[in-house]
Structures are given as structure tokens and as C-alpha cells.
Amino acid sequence: MGLKTFPGGIHPHDNKSFSKDKKIETMPLPEKIVIPLSQHIGAPSKPIVKVGDEVLAGQRIAEAGGFVSIPMHSSISGKVTKLDKFRHPTGTLVQGIEITSDGEDKWIELIDDSNYMELISKDMKDRIADAGICGMGGAGFPTHVKLSPPKGKTIDTIILNGVECEPYLTADYRIMLEQAEDIISGLKILMKIVDAKNGVVGIEANKPDAIKLFKTMLKNDKNIKVVGLHLKYPQGAEKQLIYAATKRKVPNKGGLPMDVNVVVQNVGTAIAVYEAVRYKKPLIERVITVSGKIVKNPKNIKARIGTFYSDLLEFCGGTTEDIGKIISGGPMMGFAIPSLETPMTKGSSGLILFDKKEAHKEKEDVCLRCGRCVDVCPLNLVPSLIAHHVRNDDWDSAEKFGVMDCMKCGSCAYVCPSHIKLIQWIDIGKIKVNEKRTNNT
């Protein structure tokens, strides 16, 4: 099997064995959920319910706040009990809607449009926008926006991202094994919407059964390729995946996949797309991996959006030792959050728990100029140099050496023998350069 990849990258231990053979389990209905109004990149959604309103599962409770935004839906039936600021999986506090369950799980009416492939592109896109779908791999870009290239840009290839290169996470792996048909239907819808001739499913080599399954299922679809990819982090990063699958390089300085005629969607998003177009089902549930050495029963859980991490952990039997760190997402790019009283969002792919020892942090040493960060940077940057300029408040030089190009994959910080918090410095640099740009305009 000719595996493909990108230059640079690292090989962390993937730690997927905790949960990779656990079938997806459906989480019992939580008593209470919180739907944050910012689960995506773009304007926050605007609430259209007030405290005391009765809502159904799937009922719209917030409108999109603009074109680059998505509507929100209640994921359970019950009563709106609070409109307030709640903890968000990125660690900040954002506006959210709290809904207390009536325990009955009454849904809005769904349809079953078996002729969904006959729909015109615009209708399909409207159903996706109405369902409130954003990228489910983590970044959370509104899907209908990704599928609306500006005039003059054409899309010839849709790439489905089944790489899941973050250690610990196995949610995408499980849905690929258990819902392969839905994923493929979703891919065909996506291809039809943007009139793309080619489809690609990119899967990392540590999931050979998923690669085999998709190859078998797609053997009659000549225009859809299954691409096996080297086991290397960050193979699932958008630009790296596109390069590995098509040899096209997305331009830096804010270039988008559509600049090279490609749209990338996560496999989970493909399922949401399929369900939205065929059943008009809004995105109110997803699969999330709860894992870590100290989790009693690591699981892949299908849970309603807005379910608290504390409920998910309880469903996994809690932990065997004291928790040292709570990570929302994967351990390379996820966020360390201060509380389990945080609701999962449409982009929540994992909840990882570390014990006190794993949470230990080393002291920063001086840079040895060893160049390991340069060797692994998949974007060909010089991370140590950028960090150096940020440390010296030299934002212009940081910008010149590509601080804004960095996607914060964390490979450099992972290999640094001096334990320099490269991503933290780069993050500060990004904020400062943005401030500078805003002030200049």
C-alpha cells in the first residue's frame, strides 16, 4: 500500500489502544445541557428563546449571527432555564443557553427524503446551513461557507479527513468502521454541491481496517480514491492532508484550500451533512472519545451537544486517580480547561484526562539552537526564531518570519529539549500582530 505524507512532523505515541476497540455507546439523556452560542469560527449565534420556553430536541433556539455563522438547536426536549455565560471548551466563558430536560426526548419532526440526491445544490446547501453544521474536527468552520467558493474559484476535489492524527482520539475511527455508508453518502452530497469530480478519503496507516473497509465499499466508485497516509503527526492538518493526497500546496499568508480547488471535510461532518440533507436532522449529537490512563472505562460516546464533560466522565465510571489536567480535544492541540462543568460542542472530539504526574510541567531552559523545531515544522518555519522575536517584543520580525502562518500544531514544542513553550510564545505573537494590524486600519 503506497502510503503518502508531507515533509516534517513527529511521531508521538498514539495511545489509541485505550478506546480504539470500544464500540460507540449512546449516552443516556443528560438532565441538563448548555448550548454555547459560539461553537464555530465566525459571528456568535443570536438566541431566539427566553427563559421558561419549552423546546423540543432539534428545535432551533438561536439564529445564525451572519453568513459566517450557524444556527443552534436544542439537543434535548425540556425547558430553557438560563441564558448566561458558561465555560467553553476552549477555556473561556461565553454566552450560552441552559436547557433542563423533561426526560421525554420529544423531537421535532424529521423527514426521510430518499430522493435527496436529486436536490439542486442550493437546496442541499440550505439544509446544511439550517442544520447548523460546522467542521467537527475541531476548528469549527461553518460547512455551508466552505461549500460556497466565491465566483471564479472552482472545486474539483473533496477530501474527507479520516486521519485523526491526535493521540488518544478514536471517535473518527469508530464512526468510519460503524457508519461507513453514511460517510460515503455524505461525501457524494458534498461532491455534488460543489460539482467536484473527485473524492478522496484520507486515512492514517494505524487504521488498516478502516482503509480496507473503505476500499472495499468504494471499489465501484472510480472517482473516489482511498488514500493511506503515513502515521505521522500532524497528518490530519488541512494543508498537510491536501499536500499528501494531491501534491497541491495551499498558499501561505491566509490561503485557503479552495485556492487549490479543494475542500476538506472531517468524516464526522460528512455524516452530519448526510443526515441534514436526507432527514433535515440538525447537528445535535456527535461521537466523542473519553480517554486517558486514569479513566476507568475509556469510551467512544455518542452524546448530545451541550452534555457536560462531568456527565461524560461519570458515564465512563470516573477516574481511578486524582485528575491533574483536563484536556478538551486532543493532547497536541486541545485546550486544558479548569473545570469539568463544561459542555461539549459540535467540535468536541475528545475529553482526555491526565493524572498529576502526566500534568507535570518542566521548567523552560535556554534555547540550545539545536534546530529540532526547524526539522519537524510541517510549515517550514523557524519556530525558535519566531519565539525569540516574540520574547523580545519584536512583533514586526515575528510577523516577517511567519508567526501568522503557524497553525499551532505543537510539533516544535513537542521535540524541544529545552522545554520552551513555543506555542505559547507564538500565540502571544499572533495576538500582538493582530492587535497591530487592527490599530493600523
Binding site: A336, F354, S384
Partner: protein, 356 residues
């Protein structure tokens, strides 16, 4: 919920590697060469190495105490410097030579710039340059081949014994590179004679001796094989990277092949470059000194340029300079231009748009 959870920027997992693990692995990689040195030159080599290490570590601790900064002698970097200092002297040196070399290396080569990570020059090489300049007779001249096994090499230059008495003595007791130098510089040897010596030097016997260590020389440079074992270990552990040593040695190979012969361009046998690579400090320098993280470029292209620069200067010194050996000066010189190299070799970011 009174638990306090750690909150930090990503990534939350980290490779098991630290400054001290890097340095101690370098120490481990230097051990085979040290053992071979002890085997060929006797236990004195071990003592000299210990003096150098103790002097280096003590100097580092004292200066850090004086500067009121944390004492970091356990990171192993001073130990590496000490060993490399000892590797650069010969086993018959007096005890104070490595001590002075090590004190100079740490004090002037490293701490004066602010300590590890800030020094411009490789401290051990600066220490060596200081020793060579101050006590040339103790360090470069009069290399002693202390074991009978070294006679193999001696016999290969026996042809020189019948030379006129005014031929410099240095030839008969010199290191292989000293012989080559003398052959190039003197006009008193007939070209037939010179060719014979050259052939002897590049014979398989001599090359094998150079590789395994049956030659006179300084403690650490004696066996290419032992150094290569250490280098392979470091490469396997991703502590050194191929670009600098390979471009360095490759450049030396090509240039010596082109210009190394005594009868004009391309007159050298293909074995002459191999002789040059195995002789002197090239293997030690290319794998353990030029690759010093602090004093070499961080960019990939920069490392290639750095290695090539070292190679060019080494060959220039060996063939037309005043010394038989040029490794240490070439690396020291290239150390100076590292900031310049880094500045002009910043890589093009992935997906860089061509300027219109």
C-alpha cells in the same frame, strides 16, 4: 470540587528529552573513543580526561556562583567540553595542560558569553586553540606512538630513513598528516621518493591502521571506528543530524581528490581523500564539534553551507596553510559566521506565494 487542575498552552504531551539528556548521551557517545584511547596510550589518558572534566565542571560552578545564576553543572555540558579538551591533547602531556585548557574553554569560551546557549565558539575548540597557541611543542609536535602496534605505520614511512640528513626530522616522527604536509612543502625529496611515500600512506594497511587506531596521535582522534560508533548512536537518537558531518566530509573528499595529489590536479589516488578523512581530527570534528548545537546553524540549508565551509577551510589549511591540520580552525571560523548563515537561509514557508 476543590481540585486544582493544571492549565497550560498546548501541546500537553512532550517527548522525553531535555538538555541534560542530550548532553549525557553525547558523553556516552564519546566513551568508545575514550576507551580506545586508554587501550592504545595507557591509563594516563583516562587521568588526563578526568583532570579536564573536573577542571571544566569546577570552573563552570565557580563562575555561575560568582554570577549568582543557577548552577547547572548537572546538565553535562561542561563534562562534554572537558572530555573534548582531553581528546585534543596527546597522552604524554603534563597534567596541567588539560586543566588550563578546560578552564579557558569554560571561562572564556562559554561563561563569558552568558553560558550554555549563548556562546559563539565551540568552547572545547577554543580551549584547544589556546593550548596550541601557548604550548605548541606540547600539543602538536612530537606525537608519540606509544604502542608497538603503531609500528605498522612507522614501517610504511621507513622509506624515508635514507633521506639526506637535512630533510626535516619531523617527517620520521610525525603524524600522517605531518608527513603529507612535509612532502608538499619540501623540495629536497625526489619526486620518486615522494610518490613512494604517498603510495605507502594511502596503502590499505595504513588506512586500516587509521581506521582502527594503530597510529600516533591525540587521545580522542586515534580511532575513527570508535568515533563512528559514537556518532552512529547520536544519529540514531536524533541528537546529531546528517547535514553538517556529511557535507563537511563530502567537501573534504571532493577537494582532496581534486587538489590533494602532489603531481597536479586530479593526480591523487581515490584513497588519498580517504586517508585525509581518517587522519587528524576530521571525524571527531565533523561528528562531535561541528555539530555542536549552540554554535551551528539552525536552518537545514544553513547546516549544509556550514559543513561545506568547514570542509573548504580544512582543505585549504591542510594543503596550503601553515599547519598540517585545519579542522579546529575551520570550525572556529565557521562558528563566527553562523548568525550570518542563519540570517540568509531562513526557509521558505510551506506554500509561499511567489512575489509578483
Amino acid at each position: 470540587m476543590n481540585d486544582v487542575f493544571a492549565v497550560s498552552a498546548a501541546p500537553h504531551i512532550k517527548q522525553r528529552i531535555s538538555v541534560s539528556s542530550v548532553m549525557w548521551q553525547v558523553v556516552l557517545a564519546l566513551t568508545p573513543a575514550l576507551l580506545v584511547g586508554i587501550f592504545f596510550f595507557g591509563i594516563q589518558s583516562l587521568f588526563l580526561t578526568l583532570y579536564a572534566v573536573i577542571a571544566a565542571v569546577t570552573t563552570e560552578a565557580l563562575i555561575q556562583k560568582f554570577r549568582k545564576v543557577p548552577i547547572t553543572i548537572s546538565d553535562g555540558s561542561a563534562v562534554v567540553t572537558g572530555i573534548l579538551i582531553a581528546f585534543n591533547i596527546n597522552s604524554s602531556s603534563p597534567w596541567w595542560l588539560p586543566v588550563i585548557g578546560a578552564v579557558f574553554a569554560i571561562a572564556i569560551g562559554k561563561q563569558i558569553f552568558g553560558g550554555l546557549g549563548f556562546n559563539i565558539f565551540n568552547p572545547a575548540l577554543l580551549g584547544r586553540a589556546f593550548m596550541v597557541a601557548s604550548w605548541p611543542t606540547l600539543t602538536t609536535a612530537g606525537w608519540k606512538a606509544t604502542t608497538p602496534m603503531s609500528n605498522l605505520f612507522q614501517s610504511s614511512i621507513n622509506g624515508l630513513r635514507n633521506l639526506p640528513s637535512n630533510v626535516p626530522d619531523v617527517i620520521t616522527s610525525a603524524t600522517p598528516l605531518g608527513v603529507v604536509k612535509a612532502l608538499r612543502d619540501t623540495t629536497q625529496i625526489s619526486s620518486d621518493m615522494a610518490n613512494t611515500v604517498m603510495d605507502n600512506l594511502t596503502s590499505m594497511n595504513t588506512l586500516q591502521d587509521l581506521f582502527w587506531g594503530n597510529i600516533g596521535g591525540v587521545i580522542g582522534e586515534v580511532s575513527a571506528a570508535a568515533l563512528l560508533i559514537g556518532a552512529a548512536f547520536l544519529a540514531w537518537k536524533h541528537i546529531i543530524e546528517w547535514r553538517i558531518p556529511i557535507s563537511y566530509i563530502g567537501t573534504v573528499f571532493i577537494l582532496i581528490y581534486m587538489f590533494g595529489g602532489i603531481n597536479g590536479m586530479f593526480s591523487a589516488s581515490i584513497l588519498l581523500p580517504i586517508f585525509h578523512i581518517l587522519s587528524g581530527g576530521l571525524i571527531l570534528g565533523a561528528f562531535f564539534m561541528a555539530t555542536d548545537m549552540v554554535t551551528s546553524p539552525v536552518t537545514k540549508r544553513g547546516r549544509l553551507i556550514f559543513g561545506m565551509g568547514c570542509g573548504i577551510i580544512t582543505v585549504v589549511i591542510r594543503l596550503i596553510g601553515g599547519y598540517p591540520e585545519g579542522v579546529s580552525y575551520s570550525i572556529l571560523f565557521m562558528n563566527m559566521v553562523v548568525p550570518l548563515i542563519d540570517r540568509y537561509t531562513v526557509p521558505k514557508p510551506f506554500g509561499q506565494i511567489k512575489r509578483v
